[in-house]
């Protein structure tokens, strides 16, 4: 596309990006679009979109929290800090997990995630923070 066509294309795009919304609505109505009906569709779509957006943020926050907890447990194991280790052992025993989970030094991040699966992560994080202080 030539520079001239690009200029015209950009001029028209900017026009839609920045025009007054009431002018846009009026124009759509004049061109036969049922703006009220479409607004209802848009409103429903935006509700679904907000839900997806919230789910993405929640999932990411959950993942970040999980990673931090795993790091804290790994750090506690490496530094032999008693209370977090006791919490971990308690979970392994309560869940009657297999022998591989009992050798704390060899636990992988995925295995730690398996041990804390089902626990309320916010509560667990608070517990770890309290144990540190």
């Amino acid at each position: 596309m030539s520079n001239l066509k690009n200029k015209i294309d950009k001029g028209i795009t900017e026009f839609y990006l920045n025009s007054d919304i009431e002018l846009i609505k009026k124009s759509l109505e004049e061109e036969g679009v049922d703006v009220a009906k479409e607004s209802a569709e848009i409103s429903n779509f935006l509700k679904r979109l907000k839900f997806t957006q919230t789910a993405i943020v929640t999932q990411e926050n959950h993942q970040a929290l999980l990673d931090r907890i795993v790091e804290k447990f790994q750090d506690a194991i490496n530094r032999n800090i008693e209370k977090p280790i006791a919490t971990l052992i308690n979970l392994v025993e309560t869940k009657q997990m297999s022998v591989q989970f009992r050798n704390l030094d060899k636990l992988t991040p995925e295995e730690i995630k398996e041990i804390i699966k089902g626990k309320n992560l916010v509560d667990l994080m608070d517990e770890l923070d309290n144990e540190e202080s």
């Binding site: 950009k10 028209i12 900017e14 124009s27 848009i42 993405i56 943020v57």
Partner: protein, 197 residues
């Protein structure tokens, strides 16, 4: 989860529902212009569906936003353009040559399909290096019956003045007048584009 979709989610959360409504309507109007006014069935998709798909693709990493390249709304409009271009390309491939109806929407097919989204801002747009091309276009506009205001708006674009409010301030006229003139200019453009290199 990709960094892009998290950034898109964060920007969405900073918009109010009214702002999002406005943005969707702008994109809806833009889609209408690009897809044509004839009907609202484009291989089973309505114009609003094209707009909705843009939001969904942006939020699920199918289209990635590079915020260093363009702002969020430019990115969405860039994706919409690209989606509509892809639709036209597909329609063109499926259409037997003898059935071509000579529709004046042919200009749409000139727009490339972007494999990665960059929005429509590009430094290349900043220079018109061919003065003669511009003069030819001005002549074409004049011959097609363009008003003085349409010509002035075209001159503004050539001088990198794009925003309707800036054009309206610069020309000291109401934005409604700018709006109407741009719409006429846009219709004229689709007819003139085949004559512009």
């Amino acid at each position: 989860m990709d960094k892009s979709s998290r950034e898109v989610a964060d920007v969405f959360s900073s918009y109010t529902i009214d702002q999002l409504n406005g943005l969707v309507l702008r994109m809806r109007a833009f889609a209408k212009k690009r897809l044509g006014d004839y009907n609202d069935n484009h291989n089973g998709q309505q114009k609003l569906d094209f707009v909705f798909n843009v939001f969904q693709k942006a939020l699920t990493d199918i289209r990635k936003w590079d915020k260093d390249k363009c702002d969020f709304e430019n990115f969405l409009f860039g994706v919409l353009k690209s989606e509509i271009s892809a639709y036209h390309e597909k329609a063109k491939r499926r259409k037997p040559p003898e059935e071509e109806d000579g529709s004046d929407e042919s200009y749409i097919l000139d727009i490339p399909v972007y494999s990665e989204e960059v929005g429509h801002d590009d430094l290349l747009f900043d220079e018109i290096d061919n003065k003669k091309l511009k003069e030819n276009y001005v002549t074409l506009l004049k011959d097609s019956g363009a008003s003085d205001l349409e010509m002035l708006i075209f001159e503004c674009w050539c001088e990198n003045i794009y925003k309707p409010s800036e054009i309206s301030d610069f020309l000291e006229i109401d934005t409604t007048e700018v709006y109407n003139a741009v719409k006429r200019l846009e219709r004229r453009k689709s007819k003139l584009n085949s004559q512009v290199k």
